[in-house]
Structure formats: C-alpha cells, structure tokens
C-alpha cells in the first residue's frame, strides 16, 4: 500500500529518508526551503501545509531546530499522524527528549525516535544498514518498516523511547572523544574502555529518567559507537579529529563544517548527575576539555588515575 510520507528537513538524513521511502514506491513530500539533490519522484514544498495529508512524517532537522520545526508542524498535524524523528540531541537543562518536544508542540501522540548506526548515504543508496526505533506504538513500527525497511534496512524496535534518545545523544559526544583519541594515536584498549564506560555513565543517568540500561548497550548506544570506530565519517568524528590536530574545541565544530550540540548535552547531563550524586568522570573530563579548563593530556591522566571500581 502506498503511504503518504512527509519529511521535514533536506539535510543528509532528511534526503536519505525521502529517497528510501521513494524507492519503496511511496508518495513523498519533503518540507524544505532548498531541497537539494532530490530526484523528481520526490516533491518539495516550503509550505508546512504540505504535511497535513501525510500518514507518516519524519522530522529530520538538527536538535537545536527541533523545537521550532515541531511548533510549525503543530499547526497541521492531529491525532491521525504518526511522527518519527532522527535528531540526535536532548534539549535544555532538564534533558528533554525530542519526542517530549513533539508531544508539547503538536497534537500527534503516535511518536517514535529512530537511532542507531544509521548511515545516511547507505540509507539513501539502499545499501545494507540497520537502526532501532523507540516507540510505544506498534503501528509506528509497522509504518516505518513499510516506509523504509526491507531486505536492505533492518529496523528493530523497542518501547524504551527515552533510552533510545538518551543513548543516541550520548553517542554524539562520545564520538568526539573517540575520534580525538584515535587522532592522537590511542591504542584500541583505551578506546574500548572509554566507549564502554562512557556508555555506562549515560545509562546511569538515563535510569533516573526512566530509561532502561540495556538500551545503552544496544544499537542506539554501543552499536552506534561501533559504527564510529569502524569509520563512519560523521560530523562529531570530524570534530574529534580536528581537536586532535590542535583545533580549539570551541571552534572545532566550525572547522568540521557544522554545529555540534554535544558540549551542551554533556554539560546538562553532568549537572543532572551531580544533583543526584552520580559520578560521571568521562563526561566531566570532556566538558572540562571543551571549556579549555583542562588539556586533553591532563584529562587522560585524570581519568587513568581514578580509583578503579567494580564493573
């Protein structure tokens, strides 16, 4: 059955989701001011009204634009619409997830968050890939699988919506750390320790917000980090490498060609953890380095000299 799919945003992921949906013979409209490089089987509109008659809508804008995009979407969607986002980030000091923002700004309730080692180019080109969808609604899973799933794209599902989004946001800043460490020639061992312990930190914080710890060890968390180590060239990896080459952390995002929210996310996660008495050494070191309060070398020493605990 042909679905009416809408995509908000024509960046890397927006374009990939639109192309994957069109490849499955669905009727696709992208809401964008530009609509670069899109085949003519995909309609482009700059009018949010174009989303009103859609069955499934993907929100594919950077997290910092999610609130304003959701607000616009709120003018045209109702209880019939299914909305799924692919933004990697948490909003504000209270670590608000994007699905929470969608819930606040729109009348849509059948929501989901798509995350994991989803590589935009692979999705666009139909090369084998996989992702995890956090949603409490089986209908959302069915429709996303119908829109973009299939033999080349495996979409796993979980009801831990908060966990998927927190893990995904954590992967953002852990990617910077790993890419930096790789850039300065760290061995495989420390990389694995940082990836795993960093994810454990995030899982502890996530549990206080209702997330399940195992979600951080699945596709949305460690699985996605494996893609980074295996060479996925995403913005965060470029920032980490730029830092390894001596770029100031505060300007590394511009050098890498994009805006990175991970510093703020890490900072807010630390503040939340601190309030609850949870230890977050890796995130602390990351934020200290990003603010220029500590050199990467000092951070490494500080982390290695910490008392070792039970896993």
């Amino acid at each position: 059955m042909t679905l009416r799919v809408g995509v908000l945003g024509a960046g890397g992921f927006g374009r990939a989701l639109a192309m994957a949906s069109a490849r499955h013979q669905h009727d696709v409209v992208v809401w964008s001011r530009g609509g670069r490089d899109l085949p003519n089987t995909i309609a482009v509109s700059s009018d949010i009204e174009a989303m009103r008659d859609r069955d499934l809508i993907f929100l594919a804008v950077p997290a910092r634009h999610a609130t304003s995009a959701a607000e616009q979407l709120g003018r045209v969607v109702d209880g019939r619409h299914l909305v799924v986002h692919v933004s990697r980030g948490l909003i504000g000091e209270d670590l608000k997830t994007i699905t929470t923002v969608l819930r606040e700004q729109t009348a849509a309730r059948r929501l989901g968050a798509l995350a994991g080692p989803l590589v935009a180019d692979a999705l666009a080109d139909g090369r084998p890939s996989g992702a995890v969808l956090g949603t409490r609604f089986p209908e959302v899973t069915d429709m996303v699988r119908e829109a973009i799933g299939g033999s080349e794209m495996r979409v796993y599902d979980t009801t831990d919506v908060t966990g998927v989004q927190m893990a995904s946001a954590t992967v953002g800043f852990l990617t910077v750390i790993l890419a930096y460490a790789q850039g300065v020639g760290a061995d495989a061992g420390p990389l694995a320790v940082m990836a795993t312990r960093g994810m454990v930190e995030a899982a502890r914080i996530g549990a206080t917000l209702g997330a399940k710890e195992q979600t951080f060890l699945g596709l949305a968390g460690l699985g996605d980090l494996l893609a980074v180590v295996a060479g996925d060239d995403r913005l965060e990896a470029r920032i980490g490498r730029a830092m390894a080459q001596g770029a100031d952390p505060r300007h590394a995002g511009e050098q890498a060609g994009g805006y990175f929210e991970g510093f703020e996310v890490a900072q807010h996660m630390i503040a939340h953890a601190h309030r609850l008495g949870i230890e977050t050494p890796i995130s602390n070191a990351f934020v200290a380095v990003s603010k220029g309060k500590m050199s990467p070398e000092q951070a490494k020493i500080a982390l290695m000299q910490r008392r070792v605990g039970t896993e």
Binding site: G74, R80, F137
Partner: protein
C-alpha cells in the same frame, strides 16, 4: 454472623414503587434500571473473548480455581467453608469437561464475579447522605453543635475547613455533554468522603467508584457504599478473570455515560509525595471505553479531570510514613489497622481540623481528553496550537476507527505521564508541608554525609534557631509564590497570606496534639526536631520543588531531598 450478613449481602431499602428518573437527574439515577444489562454486557464480552479458544478458556478456569483455592485456604473463614469445596472439585474436572460445560462454568464464574462487583444506587439514600454526611462531619468537628447540626441549613464549619478550587463552571457544562472521569491523588481514606462533598457543594454530579471490600465490613459504611453506586473491589482475589471483570465493568459504565472516579495511584501515597507511578489498569478502561464508542460510532466524549486532594493534616500520616519506611510497607496493600479504623483518632483529627482555615483543599484541574489535550468551553479538544481536534483520529488506522489493545495501552501510559505532570502543577502546598520541608532541609544541612535512616533516628537532637528558621520559611514561601506565578504549583491562601512565624506556629499547633509523635517543638530560642519521619512525610510533598526553592547555601541539601523522588 451479622457483620458477614451486612458485608456480603447488600442491605437495600424496600421499594414500594420504582423510582422513575427525571431528565434533569444525573446519569447515575438510571443505574438501577440498567444494572442487569450492564452485568450481562460484562459477562458476554468476557465469555465472548475466551470461548472461541479452548486453550485460553482452560487456562482461565485453571487460573481462577488455583488462585481461589490458595486464597480460601489462607482465609479459613465462612467463605472458605462455603466455596473451597466447589473450587477443589472444579479444578479436578476442568480437563475432563467438554466444550459446552467449560463455557457454562466460565459463564457462571464470571456472572457471580460481575454481580458481586456491581453496585446499586438508591436515590433516597443519596438524598439522605447528601444532607446527613456533611452534618455528621461538622458534628464531629464541633460536638457542642452536634445536636443542632441536623437542623442547620448549611454547615459553616465544613465550608470553612473544605475549599474547592478549579474551573467548576467548565466542569458543570461538560457534565451534560460527556462522561467525566475524576482521577484524584490519594493520601487518605477520607479522600472519597471529602471528594463526594466537594462534588456536592460544587453542583457536580455524583460518580461511580470502586471501593475496597474492606470498607464494606462496617455495616453502616457498607450500607451507604452499596446504595450510592460504589462497586466492590476485593483486592484479595488474584484471579485474572476477576481483574478483567473489574476493568470491563468500569469500561462499560464509562461507555454508557456514567461519571466515574478512581485513584490512579492505586493506593494511598505512603511517602506523602505527589504520585508519579500510576497504576494504569482502570485508566486503560476509560481509554478503551473511548475507543469502543468510536468503533461503534457512538459520539460520547470522555474527559479526565485531574484532581488534587490537599490536606494540612493527614489522618493516617504516622502509619503511612512508617509503612513506607519499612520493608513490610512494600507488600502491604491494604492497611486495616490504621487511624481510619479508629473512631478516637477520627474525633481527635476532626477536633484539630476544626480550628484550621482551609484544612483540606480540593483542586479540580483543567479537564483533558484521553490523549492529554485540553478541552474548550464547548467540549472540543484543542491542539497545542489552539486548533480544534477530532479525538476520534487517535484511534483511526488508515481512516478507520479500530480497537487495538497495544495502541490503547500506549495511550494509557502517555495519559499516566500527563496526569503525573498535572498532579505536580495542581498540587496546593499547605502550611504544614512548607514548614515541614524547611525544617527537614535544615536537618539535612546540619547532618552532611548522613543517610536518610540515620537522620530519621535523630530524635530531639537537632535544634534550629527560630529566627533563622522563620527567615528560611519566608524565603521558601517567596520562591514558591514565584513558582506559582509560573504555573508550576499552587500554594494555599494560608501560606500566601500569613506571616512566616505564624505559619511556623500553626504547623506546630496542628501537628502536636493530633499526632502521637511530636514533629518539632520550641526549646529556648530553638525549634527542636522531634520525630524526623513525621516531618519527612509532610515535607515529601515539596520534593519536586526542593531545588527551585533553595538558595545556594541550601542547594546541596535540596538536591539530596530531590533525589528522594527519583524513583517515586
């Protein structure tokens, strides 16, 4: 024997001629004429779901027999003598029964359960209760006026003590347009009584509600419960079929337009905190009622009214907090030996309460549809952008309304989260809670690094300078007023209007003299913390706001207090 007669068999007044409801009567006045139909509807739907599948049917019968045998073997009472033989004989025969017999047995079990659950509504008892109960409570509060109470047109005492807040006009308009489902916070067994009174004084309709079977053991309470539309919930029964009967009974009533009430917290908040972890069973029955009506093309809206019941003094505070602090508390669902069951405690409680202005505030929050959307004056659901919505769209799958249990369970969960947020926003903080919080925060500040249980053992050991305490209370109140202006919470008029030292004095007067333990008492220039667990109970209401009302010096203690609520 007499007690059992009253608790097991509903006492009803004889009818010389049946009451014919008038069009202006609330929906519940039609209940008796529909009662048998409702019971049949429940039985037919449950049997209809089990009968086509012999495997499922057999599991249901085995589950019923197994759990009932276990329960009755433990009970060893008259009911056990009557029924244990039946279940033991049945469990041996289930496998040998043919399809027809299994269906017949299922029908008989479910019918018995549904009839036991279903209530009764007698307009005469309702008319009597709405006059007499407030006056009886007023009489308990002011015994000198007890005899006069029944001749007084309106109880001034009660209206001074009980305050109702919220947009009553809006609710009054909605009651004739759809089914209202009141979902209050739950602190005390007095909740259903004060809520019934709040509905009455606000001109809102009477509601049906599930009452624990333990309340039916008192013949007088049982008589009123039976005849005012309450349905009986026996929490001792673990049978899956029974749970289905309860849920479906609630669903069918809501589908048919009966206004309802249930406590989503399931049981009284043991800690005194605002509930966040809600039980979704009955909430789900209301969501499914909406779906079923949509599928049947019945256009009857269902609206939830988040309601907070706020007490300055809680009848059962000491038992509840003790229960929360002990391991035993985790397993005890029904407490039968608390203050609610002791008339001397009632009298002491009401005598204390009579001197308090607005000792209980019931706040009816903004009504919402089953999907958390607000409702306009005409009963239409509104999107966050202010657009009118068709709530039926939420249960459509590709344009057709469908029943989908997994989807409705997800909606119910979402609704639970919305209600929990609403409870926080609609809580009205009382003087004892604010003073309790400031005292407890000082205790935490003075005992750095100590865990909760060590702190609770510090009886009469921690003194706080009175002047500093009064200053802290004033600052906390100012910050709460700021939160109130931002729509984060409400505070009572007493907290808003009284001077901080008067608030402290009032709180001490209210606690000491009613509770057996002394919460705090003056000693020279200090206020000395007596029983920290009692303070903990009252202060727990402020857990979500602790950090926001603390200054930098109090921040660490406030974080520790806020951490108490992480998994609440």
């Amino acid at each position: 024997m007499l007690k059992r007669l009253f608790s097991e068999r509903p006492l009803r007044l004889p009818h010389l001629k049946p009451y014919v409801p008038r069009p202006s009567d609330p929906s519940i006045f039609w209940f008796n004429s529909e009662r048998n139909d409702i019971v049949s509807d429940v039985v037919n739907r449950i049997c209809g779901a089990h009968e086509p599948d012999r495997g499922r049917l057999e599991i249901a019968l085995n589950d019923a027999a197994y759990h009932e045998i276990r329960r009755l073997e433990k009970q060893r009472d008259d009911e056990a003598r009557d029924r244990l033989g039946y279940w033991r004989s049945m469990i041996r025969r289930i496998g040998k029964m043919d399809d027809a017999e299994q269906k017949r047995v299922l029908n008989s079990i479910v019918t018995t359960m549904a009839q036991d659950v279903a209530g009764n509504f007698d307009p005469r008892v309702y008319g009597f209760a709405r006059q007499a109960i407030p006056r009886m409570i007023a009489g308990l509060m002011e015994p000198r006026r007890f005899t006069k109470g029944f001749t007084m047109p309106q109880s001034e005492v009660l209206s001074r003590v009980l305050r109702v807040q919220g947009d009553i006009e809006h609710l009054n308009h909605l009651q004739s347009e759809g089914s209202l489902v009141f979902v209050p916070t739950h602190s005390s067994n007095l909740d259903s009584i004060v809520l019934a009174q709040a509905l009455e004084v606000s001109g809102l309709p009477p509601v049906i509600y599930g009452a624990g079977k333990n309340l039916f053991t008192n013949p007088i309470i049982s008589f009123f419960m039976h005849n005012l539309g309450a349905y009986r919930v026996d929490r001792r029964i673990r049978v899956q079929l029974y749970k289905e009967v309860l849920k479906l009974y609630s669903q069918v009533m809501i589908e048919r337009g009966y206004h309802s009430l249930f406590f989503p917290g399931g049981t009284r908040s043991r800690s005194g905190m605002i509930e966040r972890r809600l039980k979704l069973g009955l909430l789900g029955s209301a969501v499914e009622a909406f779906t079923t009506n949509q599928v049947r093309r019945v256009d009857r809206p269902i609206w939830f009214v988040p309601t907070t019941i706020n007490y300055a003094l809680v009848l059962e505070a000491e038992t509840l907090i003790r229960d929360w602090l002990t391991e035993e508390g985790k397993a005890r669902y029904i407490i039968e030996d608390d203050e609610f069951s002791r008339i001397d405690r009632w009298v002491a409680f009401f005598r204390k309460v009579v001197g308090m202005r607005a000792a209980c505030i019931i706040r009816f929050g903004e009504p919402i549809d089953p999907f958390g959307n607000v409702i306009d004056d005409k009963g239409a659901s509104l999107s966050p952008a202010g657009e009118t919505l068709d709530p039926g769209g939420y249960v459509e799958r590709r344009g057709t309304p469908t029943v989908d249990a997994a989807r409705d369970a997800a909606y119910t969960r979402e609704l639970g989260n919305v209600l929990a947020d609403r409870y926080e926003r609609d809580t009205v903080l009382m003087s004892t809670q604010v003073v309790g919080h400031v005292l407890f925060r000082n205790l935490v500040q003075q005992t750095p690094g100590m865990d909760l249980f060590s702190r609770l053992r510090l009886r009469n050991e921690i003194g706080i300078n009175r002047k500093l305490l009064v200053k802290d209370i004033g600052e906390a109140r100012d910050r709460l007023m700021e939160l109130e202006r931002n729509g984060a919470v409400h505070i009572s008029d007493v907290v808003r209007e009284e001077a901080p030292d008067a608030l402290l004095e009032q709180a001490l007067t209210f606690w000491n003299g009613y509770h057996n333990a002394t919460a705090a008492s003056p000693q020279d220039s200090d206020i000395v913390v007596g029983d920290p667990s009692l303070l903990l109970y009252y202060q727990n209401r402020l857990v979500p706001f602790a950090e926001r009302i603390a200054d930098s010096g109090q921040h660490k203690a406030a974080c520790e207090i806020e951490a108490l609520g992480v998994h609440r």
